[in-house]
Subunit: 232 residues, 2 copies
């Protein structure tokens, strides 16, 4: 059965749209069961409606604690039939930390994408932090979510060159080009049971030893993107 | 005139040897004036002798403070005729922090290479930190030295893939392959006056806009290595 997905988001949802497109084109074996936003005007909710996916705006102000809020989300997710055994929770620009209680419901089943080469530049605006620091290489990271922010075990990382005179907006766009390929790829690996956890290390199963890491467009992505995920 | 170099080191000196080789082959326009070690048994001192370069072991225990020790180094360096205008100080595995007084003698003329994608993994054993963290991409950084450790403006960075089961020793070797190309390249750019400082950002002058960043061996290096520095 396809991996059941719950998507949490707060914003425009371009990574969410890329996931939808990879499902539609048949390369990502997953099924969107529900989309939840903590922001009423999140563009990602409009995408969910466009695709006809079940979607909810859940207002944090109506809950007295993060614990209660997250319990409400878990309840919505479980009501779709999604469990820790058949599904995963995908954070796609979700601007809240998820609680330990939430994570306990979906152990090793909550993924996030962060726009930096972690552990550099955790937190908000990873791309701006990179530009301001003056790094020559920047990128993004898909990782398992743990309670500590942006600190979970890493599934895939991608890097590319930044020119010295780059501005934040351009950097955001360059890094999104990688995110939109890498996040669907990481979810597909999870869907196929190919991610083995060894302490902090994530081993991709059933893959050849890497001999070439370079994808299209001068991305350096590891593990390399597979067929269907690296299109121009 | 070729850029005059003082090299400070504490260990085996493989980056120092690569600098010597690039000078000998004519691609790096620089001249080693003196090599100084804070360790009597540093392999780098043997390399200096092999090449016939002036070399000193200066014992920190004979000085009552870092300030006095660094003043002795400055004196040795100045005695060779090397100044802030004609030369540079190259830290090549030098396991001491240089003082503000030392840096004031050579403003924007002290370089270091660090085996991580800074600002990740500052301090000792950057490669081991990367392996233990479980990153999928690792690399190295050449930067101007400021008083804060591993925090100066970045000249060049290089990344490559790490397999999930890699050990520290293998990672050290993979990263050294990049270091040995990137450090001579960065020094050559300094020698030719091609590094312009804009706040925290280092702009490489007289170069084409990058269209391809990928060098040999699946390195991603930015700015890209130029002719003579990327050999297999």
């Amino acid at each position: 059965m396809a991996l059941q997905l719950a998507v949490l988001l707060s914003g425009g949802g371009s990574n969410f749209r890329s996931i939808c497109e990879h499902i539609d084109s048949g390369v990502l074996d997953a099924e969107i069961k529900v989309v939840i936003s903590n922001k009423e005007d999140a563009g990602g909710l409009a995408i969910a409606k466009e695709y006809g996916y079940k979607n909810y705006y859940v207002d944090p102000k109506k809950y007295s604690s993060k614990k209660e809020y997250d319990a409400a989300l878990v309840s919505i997710i479980h009501d779709t039939g999604l469990t820790k055994d058949n599904g995963a929770v995908i954070l796609a620009g979700y601007m809240r930390l998820v609680s330990e209680d939430f994570l306990a419901n979906f152990p090793w089943r909550v993924l996030n994408i962060h726009p930096s080469l972690l552990p550099s530049f955790v937190g908000l605006h990873g791309q701006k932090q990179a530009v301001d620091y003056g790094v020559k290489l920047a990128g993004c990271t898909v990782h398992f979510v743990i309670e500590e922010m942006d600190a979970g075990a890493i599934i895939i990382q991608g890097a590319r060159a930044l020119d010295a005179d780059i501005d934040e907006k351009t950097a955001v766009g360059l890094i999104l080009e990688m995110e939109h390929r890498m996040y669907p790829q990481a979810i597909e690996w999870l869907s196929k049971g190919r991610l083995e956890i060894k302490g902090r290390k994530v081993v991709l199963l059933n893959t050849e030893k890497n001999t070439s890491q370079i994808g299209t467009k001068n991305f350096l992505i590891n593990p390399p993107l597979e067929e269907g995920f690296f299109k121009e």
